[in-house]
Amino acid sequence: MPYESFLIAGLLLPFVGGCVAALLPTNARNAEAWLAGTVALIILALLASAYPRIVDGGVIRFTVEWIPDLGLDLSLRMDGFAWMFSTLITGIGFLVVLYARYYMSPSDPAPRFFSFLLAFMGAMLGIVLSGNLIQLVFFWELTSLFSFLLIGYWHQNAQARDGARIALIITSAGGLCLFAGVLIVGHIVGSYDLDRVLASGEAIRAHRLYVPGLVLVLLGALTKSAQFPFHFWLPQAMAAPTPVSAYLHSATMVKAGVFLLIRLWPAMGGTQEWLWLVGSAGLITFILGAFFAVFQQDLKGLLAYSTISHLGLITLLTGLDTPLGQVAAIFHIMNHATFKASLFMAAGIIDHECGTRDIRRLSGLWRSMPITASLAMVAAAAMAGVPLLNGFLSKEMFFAETIEVHDNSIVDQALPYAVTLASMFTVAYSLRFIRDVFFGPASTELPRTPHEPPFLMRLPAELLVVACLIIGIVPAMTIGPILHAAVRAVLGSTLPKYSLAVWHGFTPELLMSIVAMAGGVAVYFALRPYLLSGIEGPPVLRHINGRRIFERVLVTVSWRFARWLENILGTKRLQTQLQLLAVFALMAGLLPLPVRWAVTDYGSASGFDPVFALLWAVGVSCALGAAYQAKFHRVAALMLLGGAGLVTCISFIWLSAPDLALTQLVVETVTTVLLLLGLRWLPRRIEKISPTERSAGTIRWRRSLDFVIAACAGVGLATLAYVTMVRPAPDSISRFFVENAYTQGGGANIVNVILVDFRGFDTLGEITVLGVVALTVYALLRRFRPAPESIPIPEQQQAQNVYDDRHPDRQKGDTLKDAMATPALMMALLFPVIGVTALFFLLRGHDLPGGGFVAGITMAVAFIVQYMARGTIWVEAHLRVLPVRWMGVGLLMAGGTGIAAWLFSRPFLTSYFSYVETPVIGSIPLASALLFDISVFSLVVGATVLMLIALAHQSMRSHRTPQAREARTREAAPMKPAK
């Protein structure tokens, strides 16, 4: 049998099922339950068939290479321990699905619940089956995520949202710690493979990074298993639907932490650090959890604290650092899962049928729901550790283990007494659960009349309780082999002696059990007056609320601290920021100067040309003028900028870089239009500076300072550029490009070949960024709030409208129509001309100046010209411009041409070229890079047009202002027929 493929099938099945479940209709509760149940049963069947392979210490492995260079594989590994956990996950998963079918109300959206539940099952299986630590952490975080989604299932409920958020923050932060810890372990071992990690325990313990690694791993495990001081997320998580609490927060997910502890014990355990860290966390949690549980008034709250306490017990067992401790821990994991899941189900039934789970309001339910009551009683008795039930057996093992001497410290000597005390509280809350809910006078004033639930809703709890009984009475025959296989998988072939008998004779641990029972009953009756007073939580300690402390820390860190930092470092003034930026850049530029102050070779400026000098005089004066006018006359500054840009382009042409000149020219044009579009929305310049704020002297001082900074930066940059340019260029990678562009890339235009071929992956990233930027601009502008003075339509338009209104033979907008009559026609005719130019640049770009980018911007200009000529409304009524679609097509095509290389088993983005003979034109060079170039073209067109149009659409605002709307209604009013 190919068991190996069973593993991957079993892991994938829940995820596939989850995807299918998400697609079913909202009210398909039955179909969802069938689907989820079938998935769980199939995996159970697979597990059952694999049992013979693992029972004798066998391990089933499945490995697929993922990143072999980094030693990372997708690796699945199932031994007895993982088998036991998988069976627990799927078995209880199946019962929970059945239960949830009846628990969830028809108005709850079923697909969301069942798909998350299935996906969680897959993630949990992923944790236990991972043969690789990194992969384990991945699934670990996945369970945190699905736990978050399931706790917040009723997201209309604020408590559910808060609980989900707290759980996510705590467990995923723990997951990050675990990741760091795993990296350290992997660094020590040299591999993330679980088998190798488990085999190198000696090396790990001896390494100097052992303690940091251990602490990080423990942070992960203890947060997940809700151990002190991270326990408080679990009670908050009880806002989840009860099936989720039964499944995630008692039976499986919270066990992931102890799973990891037991799993890694052979590699990381056996030291004083382990004993103290794990043991003390477990002991404190065990005692505190049991103590708090007694005082809960909410049924699920009681069960949550009891879960915390039992998890503490398991952690303590692991922390005791003995093989026998691990045996007892594994055994108690199974037992706790069975009785706690059934108790949660019982609590859910009570909530479902009575409408409340407040212990203060519940009483005497024995009469109305006897079967549920018996189930809950047996399960609670198992929780308390009553003989002939499974809880008793593992409790006995636990007591026996605490009596053993470990390091003989005071804590070690006090341990048996401490755990007996905590067990008293365990008995007390179990008793409280039974007595306060099911006995006493029949409760009145319940929101619903209590009655027995449907048979199938009770069935899962019944099956679990039967399991408690059978394991409790004949342990060796039922659970014995499974426990043996699991223990053997963890501890190897040298097994400690342990016995699964119900009766061991009169032993100290039996005495401890008896004391705990009797003490528990006494504690319960002693605390009864306090409990009946209706106060939630234990005396004194209830004021120390872990959750409140956590939230206060969160608020301080994420809000107050942020505000404080903003106050100190932030500034709302752009000028200050720009000044800082410029000064910083200047300093960074000056930094290397002292080291190599003397630039020896200033080169020689050869060949003075009067025309070129004249050109530059024009350019420099334009640039200076732009800088001068920027403050006083923005439009003029923009025009001067255009002049300086033009001279730059001409310089490029002069220095024979025609493709640079091309690109610069089109960019220049688009930038001018873009800035002009933005200019309309800039707030007006504040002419006067209030004299109270600053005196004329400080203003002059500030301005001269700004001038000095600007001059220094400008002159410095110019010098740097000059010095760089006049020196001989070092031998760089460019020679490779020059030599290989034609032979390997099939293009004579080296720049283009670099862009679409040699560095195609860069270009892919760049166009993606461009797309993201365009979408961001679009999204930001949707929420744009202009300065109040720029909201009304511009003065010119107002004046022209007044003029049109005054003359009876004119209509509104005639001035514009008259003025634009000829230009608009010319601009409309320009559309095909610019379009053809763009196409020309695109097609020949591979060999001669041009390419997708230039062509794209040129095409975008063609669109913009139409917008300028006719206005937004006319253009969008006549021309379907879909910039987002252009972008999407571009990105998809770029990715597609890259992936297409895989079809020919070449690396991503490998290009291909050849010559095609055509009848009239002759031989045409054709490269697959052209396709890539076309996608660049498409994306650039889309992104540029999207940004410009998003800005242009702001002008439509003026039609939506209150005044405009009012005017429109006034115009429309007389047209209405009078009634």
Partner: protein, 93 residues
């Protein structure tokens, strides 16, 4: 003979065109009205286009003509954008 003639005339053309650009730039710098500046910028563009053409003739390379084509096409767009802005207060309405 014709080669000398071409060299001289091209050299002179370049100088005159550069001078023309300087004069146009002066208009852009001085104004006084915004309309004067736009007209100056347009003249600057036309002169730059012609300059690119003279380069092309001197070099005997068609690539310069494309640069001239782009300056002609897109320079017009810039001028129209400025004109529209001055006329209506916004470029696209």
């Amino acid at each position: 003979m014709s080669a000398i003639f071409l060299t001289w005339s091209l050299g002179l053309a370049k100088i005159f065109l550069a001078l023309a650009m300087g004069i146009a730039a002066f208009r852009v710098l001085r104004g006084p009205r915004a309309q004067d500046r736009v007209a100056g910028l347009d003249a600057l563009y036309v002169n730059a286009m012609l300059l690119a053409l003279t380069f092309g003739i001197a070099a005997g390379d068609t690539l310069y003509f494309e640069a001239a084509l782009i300056i002609a096409l897109l320079g017009f767009v810039g001028t129209v954008a400025f004109a529209k802005f001055l006329l209506r207060g916004e470029v696209i309405e």
